[in-house]
C-alpha cells in the first residue's frame, strides 16, 4: 500500500541515489530477483535484437534485457532495408526522436550518452507525447532501476 511502499518516482530516485553509492554486485543481485510482473516470458518485441555488446555489470545487463523486452520494439534501430510490403514504418519511437533532434542527438536511445536518470524514470512512468506511461505491473521498479542504469551507463569516450 502507498504508505509503506517505495514505488513513487521520487522514492525510486532516492533509491537510485543509493544505488550509485552501493557495490554493483549487491545491486545486481537485487535487480535480477524474481519479479512476476516482468518475467522473461513477458516482452514487447517480436524478436530480441542481436547483441554483441552485453554489459559486464549485472544491473546494466538486466537493464539491457529490459530494454530488449520493453523498449526495443519502438526505440530500436531502424532497419536499413524493409522486407516485403510496407504498411507503417517500424520503430516509431526512434522515428519520433529523429524528427525531433534532426541529427543533433542520436535518435536511437541506446546511442545516447546524455540521458539523465531522472529523465528516463519520468518518461517511463509518465510517458511523453504519444508514448504512454507504464505501470509498475508492466515495468517493475526494479526493472526501471536496471533500465535507467543501462541507458545512463558510463562508456568509454567515442562509444
Amino acid at each position: 500500500m502507498s504508505a509503506g511502499r517505495a514505488n513513487s518516482t521520487a522514492a525510486f530516485l532516492s533509491r537510485l541515489a543509493l544505488a550509485v553509492l552501493a557495490p554493483a554486485s549487491l545491486l545486481g543481485a537485487a535487480a535480477v530477483s524474481a519479479d512476476p510482473a516482468s518475467s522473461a516470458d513477458s516482452a514487447w518485441s517480436a524478436l530480441p535484437p542481436e547483441r554483441a555488446d552485453v554489459p559486464g555489470d549485472p544491473l546494466e545487463r538486466r537493464g539491457q534485457e529490459v530494454f530488449d523486452q520493453r523498449c526495443a520494439a519502438c526505440h530500436g534501430e531502424i532497419p536499413d532495408e524493409i522486407f516485403g510490403p510496407r504498411f507503417l514504418p517500424p520503430m516509431p519511437g526512434t522515428q519520433a526522436l529523429e524528427a525531433r533532434y534532426r541529427g543533433e542527438l542520436p535518435a536511437a536511445l541506446e546511442a545516447r550518452t546524455d540521458l539523465a536518470p531522472e529523465h528516463v524514470a519520468a518518461v517511463v512512468r509518465e510517458g511523453l507525447r504519444s508514448m504512454p506511461g507504464f505501470r509498475p505491473t508492466e515495468v517493475s521498479d526494479d526493472d526501471l532501476e536496471a533500465l535507467t542504469a543501462y541507458l545512463t551507463r558510463q562508456r568509454p569516450s567515442g562509444d
Binding site: 502507498s2 513477458s42 524478436l47 520494439a73 524493409i82 522486407f83 517500424p90 504519444s130 504512454p132
Partner: protein
C-alpha cells in the same frame, strides 16, 4: 488518497487492507505517482476536472485472488474497474469509466496455459499480450500464427472483449469471433466456464466447440460489466505456405458499386478472405475549394462532377489490394478468378503484387514492413501518431455495399470539413465478412480548447452514425453513454435488457460501472 464516491474512508481503508492480505501489499497501489500511471494517456479530458481517474489499483496474480477481491469489494461496495494489459489506447486505456473506481489490474495474470499445435488453439489469461504469445510459439518452434491487434502489447483477451480485429484471414482476424471458451468470475465470486468448458472433463474440447448446450453466455461478457473474464481460448491459423497479393485500381466514382458487389460475393464464397482496404486518392486528397463546393451540393456532388474533379487531380478514384494465403497453386487460382470476375469493369486495372514465402527468417522478420499481415506483433502502428499526443477513433460499421460507402464517406467528409479538422485516415476496411469499418480518427493535443473541439466532433460522429444506422462498434470510455444512446430502438429496449441483466448478475454494482453505458441501479440517475 482519493476515496470512491459513496464509500466511507474507513470502509475504503478496510477494503484496501483486505485486498493487500489477498495479493500482498506491494500489489495494492494508492500513492499519487503510481495512480498517475493508471491515467488514460490518450484522454480527451486530460488535465481537466472531468478526467476519469481511479482512486486505487489492485493487481491479482490468480483467479482465486480475483474471486477474493470481488467478495471484499461486494462487502464494502467498492467500485472496481477491470483492465487486462491496460493498453486500450484511444478507447480509455487503464482509466475507469466511473471516476473513483479501484482498477482491477490483471496484467500479472500472464500465464499461457496451453498452445495446442495439432488442434491449433491457445488458452491464455488476460495479462498475456500478442508479443508474449508470439514469443512462446516461436521458442517452441510451433507452426502457428496469431492474428494480432495493431499494437502488439495489447491483451488477446482485452482486445477480443472489445471486439477488436487484425489483419490475417477470417475467422482469425475477428478476435471475438475466433475465441472458443471463456472462464469468468462473477460479481459474487463464483467461477463459470462457458461452452464445453462447463463439462468437468472437457479437456481440449473446451477450445473445439464454442456452444456447448443451452444459452451461449460468452457474448454477455464482451463490451459489458457483467463479469471478469480470467481465461479465453483462441483459434490460431496454421502457418501457410506463402502469401501473394493482387492490386486493383478503378477509374471512376461509380466503379465502387460493381467493384464492391463483386468483392463482397467473392468474400461470401471464401475466395477473397483477406482484410482489404478501399482507398480513394480523390477523397483523401487535401480539402480545396472545389471539393468543398462539391460537398455543399444537396446530393454531395454527382458522380460526373466527382469524376471531373478526379480528372483535374489526374488520379484514379479507387484502389485496393487483395492478399491471399495458402499453397501457391490455390492462391494463383483464387487471384485468377478475381481477375476474371472483374475484367468486365471498364477501366479496371489489375496487377500482380508481392510473393512472400514462409517460414520467414529472423532477419526477414526484423525488417518486415507489415508484420501484422503475417501474424507477427509490432508497435509500428504508433508511427501514425507522429506529432500527436493521442487520438480518438470513431468506427462506424457499414454494409458491404458501394452505395453505402459513398453516402457515408460524403457525410463524414462534410462533418470533418465543418469542424475544420482534416480527414486523416483511409476509406473503408473489410475486417468483417459482411460489414466495413470506416475508421474516423480525431487527434488530441495538450490544449484543452483543441480537445474540446475534438470531443465535439467525436460526439457528432457518434450521433450522425447512429442516425444513419451506421452504428459505431466501440467508443472511448468518456463517450459510452452517448454511443449506447444511439442504440435506442423501442425506447432503449436493449439498454433496459442490459440493465435487467446487470441487476441480476451484479446487484451491488461493483463491476466496471458505466462500461458501455451500463450503470448499476444506484448510479443510473446520475448518468448523462
Amino acid at each position: 488518497m482519493a476515496t470512491p464516491p459513496g464509500v466511507s474512508p474507513a470502509d475504503f481503508e478496510t477494503a484496501l487492507a483486505q485486498f493487500a492480505d489477498v495479493v500482498g501489499a506491494e500489489w495494492v497501489f494508492t500513492d499519487d505517482d503510481t495512480m498517475d500511471t493508471y491515467r488514460d494517456a490518450y484522454s480527451p479530458l486530460r488535465g481537466e476536472p472531468d478526467e476519469k481517474r481511479a482512486s486505487a489499483a489492485v493487481a491479482p496474480a490468480t483467479v482465486e485472488q480475483v474471486q477474493a477481491i470481488v467478495r471484499i469489494a461486494s462487502r464494502y461496495s467498492i467500485p472496481l474497474y477491470t483492465i487486462s494489459t491496460g493498453r486500450n489506447l484511444a478507447y480509455g486505456g487503464s482509466a475507469p469509466v466511473y471516476s473513483g473506481s479501484v482498477v482491477l489490474d490483471l496484467k500479472r495474470m500472464n500465464q499461457i496455459i496451453e498452445v495446442n499445435e495439432d488442434l491449433a488453439y491457445a488458452l491464455v489469461e488476460p495479462g498475456v499480450s500478442y508479443f508474449d504469445l508470439y514469443r512462446h510459439i516461436r521458442e517452441r518452434g510451433l507452426r502457428l500464427w496469431i492474428d494480432c491487434a495493431d499494437p502488439g502489447w495489447g491483451s488477446l483477451i482485452g482486445n477480443a472483449l472489445e471486439r477488436g480485429a487484425g489483419r490475417t484471414p477470417l475467422p482469425y482476424r475477428d478476435h471475438f469471433g475466433a475465441h472458443c471458451g471463456m472462464e469468468v468470475v462473477l460479481a459474487n465470486g463464483d467461477v463459470v466456464r462457458t461452452g464445453m468448458g462447463a463439462l468437468p472433463n472437457a479437456g481440449p474440447n473446451w477450445q473445439a466447440f464454442p456452444y456447448g448446450a443451452g444459452p451461449l453466455a460468452d457474448g454477455l461478457f464482451a463490451q459489458s460489466n457483467f463479469g471478469i473474464v480470467t481465461k479465453m481460448g483462441f483459434w490460431l491459423m496454421p502457418e501457410p505456405e506463402a502469401s501473394i497479393t493482387g492490386r486493383i485500381r478503378a477509374r471512376r466514382h461509380d466503379d465502387i458499386i460493381p467493384l464492391v458487389r463483386t468483392l463482397a460475393h467473392l468474400s461470401y464464397l471464401g475466395i477473397v478472405n483477406c482484410l482489404y482496404t478501399l482507398n480513394s486518392p480523390v477523397f483523401t486528397s487535401p480539402m480545396d475549394a472545389e471539393k468543398s463546393a462539391l460537398l455543399d451540393r444537396p446530393n454531395g456532388g454527382s458522380a460526373e462532377e466527382w469524376d471531373r474533379y478526379a480528372a483535374s487531380l489526374g488520379t484514379h478514384f479507387w484502389e485496393t489490394e487483395l492478399r491471399f494465403y495458402g499453397p501457391m497453386n490455390v492462391m494463383q487460382a483464387q487471384w485468377a478468378h478475381v481477375k476474371e470476375r472483374l475484367a468486365g469493369l471498364e477501366g479496371i486495372e489489375l496487377e500482380d503484387g508481392d510473393v512472400i514465402r514462409f517460414p520467414l527468417t529472423d532477419d526477414q522478420i526484423r525488417r518486415l514492413g507489415d508484420p501484422g499481415s503475417f501474424g507477427i506483433p509490432s508497435l509500428n502502428v504508433f508511427s501514425s501518431q507522429q506529432g500527436s499526443t493521442g487520438h480518438l477513433d470513431a468506427s462506424p460499421m457499414l454494409p458491404h455495399s458501394g452505395e453505402a460507402l459513398l453516402e457515408a464517406h460524403k457525410v463524414y467528409l462534410r462533418e470533418y470539413r465543418d469542424a475544420g479538422v482534416p480527414l486523416s485516415l483511409g476509406f473503408a476496411m473489410s475486417y468483417h465478412t459482411r460489414a466495413f469499418i470506416m475508421f474516423q480518427g480525431v487527434s488530441l493535443t495538450l490544449d484543452p480548447d483543441e480537445n474540446a473541439r475534438a470531443r465535439a466532433l467525436y460526439a457528432r460522429l457518434i450521433e450522425v452514425s447512429g442516425e444513419r444506422g451506421w452504428g459505431i462498434y466501440r467508443a472511448h470510455a468518456a463517450f459510452m453513454d452517448e454511443l449506447m444512446a444511439t442504440y435506442s430502438y423501442n425506447d432503449h429496449a436493449l439498454m433496459r435488457l442490459n440493465e435487467t441483466l446487470k441487476d441480476a448478475l451484479d446487484p451491488n454494482g461493483i463491476l466496471s460501472a458505466g462500461r458501455y453505458g451500463i450503470w448499476p441501479r444506484h448510479l443510473r440517475g446520475a448518468r448523462a
